[in-house]
Symmetry: C2
Subunit: 327 residues, 2 copies
């Protein structure tokens, strides 16, 4: 959670003069999102989110993120729609930071997702992948396999402070993943961070996807592997829930069927996804000052997932069924 | 700013089942208020604020706070209106904490109030004092003159770390204020914390008063003295703005005329109010861990105000005019 930048009513009102969304009624800094400062605006025309991009976001990436939300919205994906200014632009500046206004999506994220939620997110992910196929911009995934070793090297020396033996495990996994990572599977726009806090529901129905600030061009089924990690493990005992895995995978493949080659690589991709989140959590764990604004997430939760994926031999163990296709 | 407690959609929906305000569409933790956890709810019937009372609020005081908002609302004061449950109650429990739902007020607080805003707040404060006259509950002000010495004793030993000579100055002021503090001026419900962040405006018009969690029964004109401190000093050079003081005082007295005795005590009360905020800021300054969620406020800003008030001889120096009354 974070509001890093406060803004005055005067500067906000001036900024909003460039838009055609009515007059400002209220704005509240909201305690969600760790990367940027987000404000919920009530305008006379409705509710919006104002985002001020803080220093962890590269301004050069904004046209990709904003353009992607526009593109997906146009294709019928429920996601925040960037609001155009009167001059047609969508990225402005406020309090010395790049800033954008997007439509507000009603809905709640699920602290404890059920099987039904997993099914919904599987279908939505596949629909997003299909909708993104003709998005013309590209963005490199700095947090894919090529980015892990540099990140690891900045944390390795202190890794065993967090858990004895962690360094040895990570070294072995990194070598395995680097040697076997696929480069020839279907690519496209991936969300790359579709955790429960980025998916809204109204009742059992998925009402929208948010937070596209890790989105990039990468292997589509890697996004699915991230979701398996994010949605299908139990909070209490870290165990994989096969019912949730089956629901998520079957809903995904019903919308976007996957090839046998993609299915074959799923365990390795899921293993890599677990390592990726373990690494960023480990880095933050070691580098976030005590008592900071940011809630530290435990890297060990993802170490446990790494160990789980390491012993998976086939995507069917996650619940994937390949009707009519050789496994 | 603070959201200390997160809540799940499930427990929130169950909690809201007891109300008749429609279905939950979204809720966001908001980064305002340092004492409690506040969430902005979008319900199908409109917007509300849900407050979870954290440990600095005594649950025994809640009937006073909630009852006061209800009372003031009924009298036409724009303030949050506590929402009654189907069973008639207004205080429930959520995530192990006392919790209440109030109506959401549109409006923005002014980071840089103008003379016009000071005029509006003066009139609103007086209207609140009149509306509170027949409120039947009473609450002792633990942060009035009797509470300052115990607070000071917990900070005195380290006061000179913040500014050399501070301890000597505070001791002298405390003795002066304790010896001369008035007990015979008109009393009633005071807000006791009517700083700019607790007053909302839409354009130049005051749209509401919020945060009644320091409200208590005390000398009415002490509340006015707090507002002089909170609204009429310039941020940049700490100087008193006589135009703002005149606007605030004349708007107040136009709605609730003050007696010569009240006017005579205004400099001492303003001096005491400055000491009161200096003391709580000093205590927090010395006791808040570095990097904490709470933004520390500088006690020295209020030391400068103490020095200013010390040399005031008459309320006319704040801009008070007493038409037809002997000064």
């Amino acid at each position: 959670m974070a509001v890093y930048t406060d803004i005055s009513e005067g500067e906000l009102a001036s900024f909003l003069d460039a838009y055609s969304i009515g007059t400002l009624l209220s704005y509240k800094g909201i305690a969600e999102g760790v990367e940027n400062s987000n404000f919920l605006l009530h305008m006379s025309s409705g509710a919006y989110i104002l985002t001020l991009y803080e220093k962890r976001v590269n301004p050069d990436d904004l046209p990709f993120f904003i353009g992607l939300m526009q593109h997906l919205s146009d294709k019928g994906i429920n996601c925040p729609l960037p609001v155009q200014r009167k001059d047609g632009g969508t990225i402005g500046e406020l309090a010395g930071r790049p800033a954008a206004v997007v439509t507000f999506l009603e809905g709640m994220w699920m602290r404890r997702p059920t099987v039904e939620h997993c099914r919904e997110v599987g279908a939505a992910l596949a629909a997003m992948h299909l909708a993104g196929q003709d998005f013309p911009l590209r963005r490199h995934n700095a947090l894919s396999v090529g980015g892990w070793r540099p990140l690891w090297e900045r944390a390795a020396a202190r890794a065993d402070e967090v858990q004895k033996g962690l360094a040895r495990e990570v070294e072995a996994d990194l070598a395995l993943l680097e040697a076997n990572w696929p480069t020839d599977l279907p690519q496209g726009v991936i969300h790359a961070d579709l955790f429960p806090d980025n998916v809204f529901f109204l009742g059992q129905e998925l009402s929208g996807l948010i937070d596209f600030y890790f989105a990039c061009t990468d292997t589509l089924v890697y996004d699915l592997a991230i979701c398996l990690n994010a949605w299908c493990f139990e909070k209490d005992n870290y165990s994989f829930n096969l019912t949730k895995g089956t629901a998520l995978l079957s809903a995904y493949t019903a919308v976007r069927p996957i090839s046998p080659a993609e299915a074959r690589m799923l365990p390795l991709l899921a293993h890599g996804a677990a390592l990726r989140f373990m690494l960023t959590r480990l880095y933050d764990w070691l580098n976030t000052p005590a008592g900071s604004l940011v809630v530290k997430k435990d890297p060990i939760e993802y170490l446990r997932r790494m160990r789980f994926h390491r012993q998976i031999r086939s995507a069917s163990e996650y619940g994937l069924t390949m009707e009519g296709a050789p496994a």
